[in-house]
């Protein structure tokens, strides 16, 4: 396959940045999207150019490091797939592919396609924890959890914090991420003591970071590589209103 890439290049946080066009030839359809970029980067290095910086780690779709907006869609158009698990067979030969970083004020570009997502860490720090006595692990069945609650909590807990929800949201809202973390804990007995303070603190931190508000467009769920459902946001809203009584 031969491809034309339009890639966002930005030398550093202060640089204005620009789209740069690259031609990539002899791409195997079996390559992942990141492997295709690796091939381009090897060539750029050999030519003495600066390789394109992008975040990646496990390349198995479970770590949440990778992520770029491909042709205007976070992680590309393949549903429930991280960028590293997106394969070139989903693109046509001679396709023109636009690659951009997540765009959001709370996610400043560090370099090229790498953005600083520590705003997410601060949202977690604001309330994404539970208080448990340290010591040996408790018996597995000492605290009963209903199956439906366990399943729903687990669904929410599969959030890998990649930031695609923010990138896709027309409002630049981090509601799906924050809601996944809140839902994951508030459905379980261990999360009850801090349930009210958690929702309040995490929502306020989300606002303080400069994320937009939710308008229930559903764009976040549609691009989420883990398919975090929209009803987590209803759960967050419920918990937040409860805490404001």
């Amino acid at each position: 396959m031969n491809l034309t890439l339009k890639v966002w290049r930005q030398n550093g946080p202060q640089d204005k940045g620009r789209m740069v066009t690259y031609r990539v030839e002899d791409v195997s359809p079996d390559m992942s999207f990141l492997e295709m970029l690796d091939v381009l980067n090897e060539r750029l290095i050999l030519e003495g150019d600066d390789p394109i910086a992008f975040d990646h780690d496990c390349r198995e779709g479970i770590c949440g490091m990778c992520g770029m907006v491909i042709n205007g869609v976070a992680h590309g158009e393949q549903v429930a797939t991280t960028t590293c698990q997106l394969h070139m067979r989903h693109f046509e030969d001679n396709a023109v592919i636009t690659i951009e970083p997540w765009r959001a004020a709370p996610f400043p570009v560090v370099k090229d396609l790498v953005v600083d997502r520590s705003a997410f860490d601060r949202i977690i720090q604001a309330g994404g924890f539970i208080s448990v006595p340290a010591g040996s692990a408790p018996d597995a069945h000492s605290v009963p959890v209903k199956k439906v609650d366990a399943d729903a909590a687990f669904d929410a807990a599969t959030c890998i914090g990649c930031g695609a929800c923010v990138a896709a949201c027309p409002n630049g809202s981090a509601s799906l991420f924050t809601a996944a973390k809140i839902t994951h804990l508030s459905l379980l007995p261990q999360g009850q003591p801090e349930r009210d303070s958690r929702a309040k603190a995490m929502v306020e931190q989300m606002d303080a970071e400069g994320f937009g508000g939710c308008t229930n467009t559903g764009e976040c769920t549609a691009v989420c590589p883990k398919g975090i459902p929209l009803d987590t946001i209803a759960q967050m809203n419920r918990d937040y209103l409860r805490s404001s009584k």
Binding site: W8, P13, Q14, V69, N71, G72, V73, T98, E100, R103, A104, A105, P108, V110, K111, D116, R122, Q125, A126, G127, F129, S131, A168, P170, N171, G172, S197, K200, A201, V203, E204, Q205, M206, D207, A208, E209, G210, F211, G212, G213, T215, N216, T217, G218, E219, T221, A222, L230, D231, I233, A234, Q235, M236, N237, R238, D239, Y240, L241, R242, S244
Partner: protein
């Protein structure tokens, strides 16, 4: 600071990025309060929107009186002013309703404008590629400009049928006379404007109705289908119910 491996130089956070306060369970950042938070403002939008929807249902039902003749329509218009009598003096109940509706409109717009500004600030650099909607749904993308169209419409509508300023029958006409004169066949463009605006209201509610339940935390995974179905049905009924009267006047069914 972003911690990197030793092979990569450490990266400083962009200059001008204020150090963000990190809160923990024990030292909480000063709360911005319910109305300062995006969630609180969304709740205001949902509740005020719900009040306005209830008004629309009543308004639409009342409009249909036009099909029962001038006497029935004018009697209904008079009833609105004498509501609550003799307990309340003339027009007091109606004025109270108007004050509540006016407050709802102002609060609804305040939350919408402030949240839209916040959303604008959250994405200072736009995407170069045209973003494709992955979620589907047309109505959701009409909410902001549709809201502006609805506001302009409400202003015209009040000048037309309430105050009679832009109505041929004027202030002195009976409500029925204003209705018939306002949507007269030669003023087809008025009916067209009403149709566009009412369809906008329908789209607004198509998204707004279920969205309000979501915002107030009353939706869940299983309730999305019935909620969205109900939103579509109620929106359709309101659009048809509101449009049938002006169209009937314009086509001469109501004279």
């Amino acid at each position: 600071m972003i911690e990197r491996g030793t092979s990569t130089a450490p990266v400083d956070p962009p200059a001008g990025t204020p150090a963000k306060p990190v809160t923990t369970g024990t030292t909480r950042r000063k709360s911005v309060g319910f109305l300062g938070s995006s969630n609180g403002r969304k709740a205001v939008m949902a509740v005020t929107g719900a009040v306005l929807v209830l008004f629309l249902v009543g308004h639409m039902t009342g409009n249909l009186k036009a099909f029962f003749g001038a006497a029935s329509f004018n009697e209904y218009a008079n009833f609105l002013r004498t509501m609550g009598e003799p307990l309340l003096p003339y027009r007091v109940a109606l004025t109270l309703v108007e004050v509540v509706l006016g407050a709802c409109i102002v609060l609804h717009m305040w939350s919408a404008v402030s949240l839209a500004r916040r959303a604008g600030k959250a994405r200072p650099v736009k995407y170069a590629a045209k973003r494709k909607s992955q979620a589907g749904g047309y109505a959701v993308h009409t909410m902001r400009y549709g809201g502006v169209v609805i506001l302009l419409f409400v202003i015209y509508h009040l000048l037309d049928l309430t105050f009679g300023t832009v109505n041929p029958a004027g202030w002195d006409g009976t409500p029925y006379e204003r209705l018939v004169a306002g949507f007269a066949p030669e003023r087809w463009w008025v009916t067209l404007f009403y149709a566009v605006a009412v369809v906008m209201v329908g789209l607004h509610l198509r998204h707004g109705l279920w969205s309000a339940f979501q915002t107030l935390g009353l939706a869940s995974g299983r309730s999305y289908r019935p909620l969205k179905g109900a939103a579509a049905a109620i929106s359709a009924v309101l659009v048809l119910g509101f449009l049938v009267v002006p169209v009937a006047v314009m086509s001469g069914v109501i004279k």
